[in-house]
């Protein structure tokens, strides 16, 4: 599953351009995340990043005993909001490159742009669109996040294809690479969508107040805390 772009696949100029885009985008997200989370952002965003890293190690079955793993961009955006989510995924991608040699150092900008900007924001936009169309229930939130997560995986493979078309060194035409990459990622997208929807619905079942994408549902009247007139367990 080709998610981390290595050094040498996309030529230097394109990588550098993506680096500028990624740095600017993450900078904007940091500022927005700071406004939303104030000083709590450091431990909360840090633990959310650690969660995404760990969630990428949770294997789920694909078919007949083969397994895949979660990417988590849209999951993060739905759970903690797109800005904080994007920052958390960016932290994960940078730590993976520098501490675990996963993903090329010169391709860091490309990887951050694809995984921490295109995926969470593209997915979150799709999520908001679907959420507006569906009735305001928890099932809708879970379903919308699943469809958006699948959509965002395909979107990320599309972003890769565009980057390859601009600066690819592969020797195959961008159309061929695009068809193959998007084809493979449609399969991955199904798994990502199902797992994201199930994970969001599991969080909604125990701590609905923690799901950023479900804030429009309002406080939950049926929870024991609400019945006792207590706020969320902050």
């Amino acid at each position: 599953m080709a998610v981390h772009i290595p050094d040498g696949l996309i030529e230097g100029g394109t990588s550098a351009g993506a680096g500028v885009v990624a740095a600017t985008g993450v900078g904007v997200c940091l500022r927005q995340a700071g406004r939303l989370l104030d000083e709590r952002r450091v431990p909360l965003a840090g633990l959310t990043s650690a969660f995404i890293f760990a969630a990428q190690m949770v294997n789920f079955p694909v078919a007949g005993g083969t397994s895949g793993h979660l990417l988590g961009g849209v999951l993060a955006a739905v759970l903690v909001g797109p800005y904080v989510g994007a920052v958390c995924v960016a932290v994960v991608v940078v730590v993976q490159a520098l501490l675990f040699a996963d993903g090329g150092v010169s391709a860091l900008g490309l990887n951050v742009a694809n995984m921490a900007l295109v995926t969470p924001f593209g997915g979150y936009l799709a999520f908001c669109g679907l959420r507006a169309l569906l009735p305001p229930t928890r099932t809708s939130v879970a379903a919308a996040s699943g469809v958006a997560a699948g959509f965002a995986v395909v979107l990320a493979s599309l972003a890769f294809t565009v980057e390859y078309a601009v600066g690819g060194t592969g020797g195959a035409s961008a159309t061929t690479v695009g068809v193959a990459m998007i084809g493979v990622h449609v399969l991955i997208a199904v798994g990502e969508g199902v797992i994201t929807a199930l994970t969001v619905s599991a969080v909604l079942a125990s701590r609905p107040d923690l799901v950023w994408g479900a804030r429009h549902l309002g406080p939950d009247r049926s929870s024991p805390a609400a019945a006792l007139g207590l706020g969320s367990a902050r």
């Binding site: 290595p6 650690a50 190690m57 199902v194 923690l210």
Partner: protein, 255 residues
């Protein structure tokens, strides 16, 4: 991060050579410089790739790193080798016969480029991670003027990484010991429920950590990690690798 074990130390291999003692910011910049030189190498200059590789090997030997263990770490690029295998089959332009298979010449060049440059890039990252402790890399990013919030978040992430990953692994063992062995995506609910629980536990841990930090006088910013910043001599030493790689690339381009 004091505990020198587990995942939070990444690929770090303890040591006390010149390479280990160089300040992290100098090593990070040197790594980026080296990789840029590798990426700019013309693809048909085979000797230049050999020279780039020799530079890395020499440094690994000088730092007395277990080269075998580090080479095994190269496994991380296997997914991309799959991409490299795919290119000659679908590449454009004239084809040449390789053991009966008509392969695209351009695609073969593409595969070679990814194999050579990708491997050298991973090698350089492994060398950086193997000679620099996690706290050092984060401190180095801090001194390279990355936003404080970003390095602080990364710092608290790696501090709790072992805890959260350990929790995920315990959940995995718990599922397996209850006979959970899913074969199809339709049976993924168990794994997803664990992921949901893991998020709730991580977030609540974050809230507790924040309260604990407040109790210890946290006012919204962490103190800067006060390691000794790199001296001109350190920068000059660290520059040896990218300068040597740049000379190789320049020579290769002049031909």
């Amino acid at each position: 991060m004091g505990a020198g074990h587990g995942r939070t130390d990444g690929l770090y291999v303890a040591g006390d050579g010149r390479l280990h003692r160089l300040p992290a910011e100098a090593k990070i910049v040197a790594t980026v410089g080296y990789v840029v030189a590798v990426v700019a190498t013309p693809r048909d200059a085979f000797w230049a790739f050999a020279a780039h590789g020799a530079l890395l090997l020499a440094l690994a030997r000088a730092a007395s790193l277990p080269v075998g263990a580090l080479v095994r770490r190269l496994r991380i690029e296997v997914p991309f080798l799959a991409f490299a295998v795919f290119l000659p089959l679908v590449g454009t332009g004239p084809r040449i016969d390789v053991v009966g298979l008509p392969l695209s010449r351009a695609g073969l060049w593409g595969a070679w480029t990814i194999l050579a440059k990708g491997t050298l890039g991973v090698g350089a990252s492994i060398l950086l991670a193997a000679t620099t402790p996690v706290a050092g890399i984060l401190g180095g990013l801090d001194r390279l003027r990355l936003p404080r919030a970003f390095t602080a978040i990364a710092g608290s992430m790696v501090r709790y990484l072992d805890v959260i990953v350990g929790e995920a692994e315990r959940m995995h063992v718990a599922r397996q010991s209850r006979g959970y062995d899913p074969r199809w995506l339709g049976q993924a609910r168990g794994a997803a429920a664990s992921a949901g629980t893991l998020f709730v536990r991580s977030y609540e841990r974050g809230e507790r950590v924040h309260l604990a930090m407040l109790a210890r006088g946290y006012t919204g910013s962490l103190p800067r990690l006060c390691a000794v910043p790199a001296t001109a001599g350190d920068w000059a030493t660290a520059a040896l690798l990218p300068v040597a790689a740049a000379l190789v690339t320049l020579t290769a381009n002049l031909r």
